[in-house]
Symmetry: C3
Subunit: 345 residues, 3 copies
């Protein structure tokens, strides 16, 4: 633990917070543990028997487990969903404390900006004309918020984020450090060997409950809007090009690149370093495995894809399994040809 004893709670108090049933002796809990590291005085969760066995033998003082599990070695809290229950108590042991709801010194706010109640703004942030910031939103240092940007309630905008003119951001969004919302889309006309810039006059709309990692780049639309759907989560260093539309509750892992005008459905999982070319239409619930490349066209809902170029996951796995046989296969075919040729002569 980076800051032990940040907080101390009774195990029975934790049981109440997560609507669970305490079995065994009540005790003090001063932190949390997981499968990677365990400490005395902490609570961990297990949602399968294998992990329960590991944690029962560890130094943790209590466990959160499913209602139908047995455990007599340590005090336990029985719940329906141990991981979900655990997620609710983590925050009580966090060393990260919020900043006061105040405007720090050295902030530049143009006169026509509208600030909600209880807004926090740290030093060296600029907020330009006609921008609107919702209630209880926290804006860290060195953030730039352009003209007519709208940011909803209860958002957290981390240090160094740049949000350019006309961007619209919903409520309960988190944007991590140095992310850029509103660079120009990458659009040129090639004429006589030169690249003539196509002005990008659209904007970006980020719906409620979106989380965006660090150093992500989302480009504004050529016309219309680039859209990130409600509840979608984007990891670090992802590139989202102009006019992309991402559906609700999707997961975009680190270093993915999505090219212009591609649309993504709801509840998709796009794994790390995937590349998707422009104008692809991807259905709901699609899973694309890491480092895959989508060349174009339409991807039906629920497909699972792998490889560059991407194919059906199982087909691609069979190809990968066959590849080590290829060098020998070339020799085997040459040998067969020789045998048949020898026989024919």
């Amino acid at each position: 633990m980076i800051n032990p004893m940040v907080h101390k709670m009774k195990l029975s108090e934790i049981a109440r917070l997560i609507n669970g049933t305490l079995k065994g002796v009540d005790c003090d809990i001063s932190g949390i543990s997981n499968l990677d590291s365990q400490t005395v005085g902490t609570v961990a969760y297990a949602d399968n028997k294998k992990n329960l066995d590991i944690l029962v033998k560890s130094s943790v003082s209590a466990l959160i487990i499913p209602g139908n599990f047995e455990c007599t070695e340590k005090p336990v809290i029985l719940v329906d969903d141990p991981k979900l229950a655990f997620s609710k108590i983590i925050v009580y042991f966090s060393p990260y404390k919020p900043y006061p709801e105040t405007i720090f010194p050295h902030v530049f706010i143009e006169g026509t900006v509208t600030l909600g109640k209880g807004v926090t703004i740290l030093p060296f942030t600029s907020i330009m004309d006609e921008a609107e910031i919702g209630d209880h939103t926290v804006i860290y240092s060195q953030v730039f918020i352009g003209k007519r940007v709208k940011i909803g309630k209860n958002c957290v905008i981390k240090a160094g984020v740049k949000i350019d003119d006309e961007t619209v951001i919903g409520d309960h969004c988190i944007i991590h450090h140095n992310t850029v919302i509103g660079g120009d889309g990458f659009g040129y006309i090639q004429k006589d060997g030169k690249n003539i810039k196509l002005p990008q006059i659209g904007n970006i709309v980020i719906e409620n409950d979106v989380e965006i990692g660090a150093c992500v780049t989302i480009d504004r639309a050529a016309m219309g809007s680039t859209v990130i759907g409600e509840g979608t989560k984007i990891d670090n260093l992802v590139q989202i090009a102009h006019n992309v539309k991402i559906g609700a509750n999707s997961i975009i892992v680190a270093q993915v690149g999505i090219a212009g005008s591609t649309t993504l459905g709801r509840n998709c999982i796009i794994s790390g370093q995937v590349g998707i070319v422009d104008h692809v239409k991807i259905g709901d619930g699609v899973v694309i495995m890491a480092q895959s490349g989508i060349e174009g066209g339409t991807i039906e809902s629920k497909k699972v894809l792998l490889g560059s170029p991407a194919r059906d996951f199982m087909e691609q796995k069979r190809i990968y399994a066959s590849l080590p046989k290829l060098p020998e296969l070339v020799k085997r075919v040459t040998q067969l040809e020789k045998e048949i040729h020898d026989k024919n002569n």
Copy 2:
């Protein structure tokens, strides 16, 4: 449209601006449309018959089309190059308005800095000793401009860009948010299991009319200069290592990585997520398809490459088309061997 009625023009006025011929009834135009979305009161362009058919049936009020096309359903403007003509009128309907040519408060400028006429600098930007900024250049918030940096005329440096000492940037360049020009090249000597830093004392030269996306990293040379040629356009999250030299009017798409001392010719297109190792020599007009990997050596002008490792585009396409047959091919060869062996016995 994110901000409807930003501007209203007569169609005949647009025809004059783009040197086109109006056919049909003049009307008011208050915005633009494209193939993705159309609105009443807007103008769109079509440069082929298929798109013309789509747009004729849409709600757009007027079209920009080639001089040899026919259209009687809607008023049209006839021009030589509809896309180019269209690009010239987009900006009239843009909601993005320039900042006043002024130095905002909270700017740090050391005494020996030279500022041109009509320079705009937004709050919380630092400009260090002996830097020179050309006329009418716009520098957004939280930009860092190091010692002896030279930036030309009519440039736009977006928020959070960091330009370290000794960098030279030409005229009419655009650099998007949080891009870094001038990190150290990644150079070490490995000695007794440790990595000893090789000081990087070169600089970076960016020629005229270059546009660089957001969160791009361009490293300064070990010695000499890293060079981005005139008119070259670089998308977001691209890595350009020390001593790379990129020719004029090339296109580098998002998340490309180019390793040290590689040289690129003129009018190349390097697609998204391509990786190019160090010391490669690439000719003019080379096209490298998305996610390809260039392992080394020399690439002749006009080559089109695909794959990791990259091969000739057509050869690689044939390999990709054959791969799904590989798992079955292994079985077929085993069967053939069995048949021949059975017959021989």
Copy 3:
């Protein structure tokens, strides 16, 4: 050279600085050259005969060469390790001069911050409560240093770096521009089609002598610490996820992505654009070639891997060499089947 005559030294003085033996006539040296470009009045190094031949014919005025090499054409300095010797003199000809050890205006430092001796802080940097900065550390503009961050002695933190709460950084570290140390790990529970955030309450520990490139993202641990080992060097645009642990003296090249809880040994080399999934265990001295993908499991020490999915380097090279034969191989097998079938009938 970007700034000729920055410094002028006698060749004999250079020989003394690098403990070498001067052979030939002493002369003035005003800069350095390398294989890419040479100038009169400079010194270069050669550590093999081929490079020596090239440089002997060039305009450089002197050479640094191994003790067992012969050269009569130019004055030379004989040393054990020419590259290492050369690295020590580069800095004397650097145009990059340090900033004065002072706190510039427009810096925000909360009252409980502890600053060492001789600290440099440039404008528009924020340092929050209880942070500690070691002696002679240099912090550029627009840096954010969160609560309780500890930074050691003689570090350089370039412009725009964001270091969030609780991060611990050792001595002699260099962090390049706009890098983010301390974004939240990417952790969610998927429940009823929604993504519920798992609070990330761990931190990041960066040991001594680490160098980190520009626009790198290192996420804080879910619990415990994300760790970058002593002497490890990380290039630009790299993603290091929560709870990753990287051993000492490893090299991570640009645009690599390492997913959660993966551990890396000492003296590994992870080449550009490699992706490594979560929970992989990688031994010491492992080399992973560019664009490779590690799917999971355990990688033994000293392995050399290539490809996506990655295989043993030599095996993968044989597969790559066989692939161009695949389209023809399919035809050859079909032909064999036909011949055997014809004969059987």
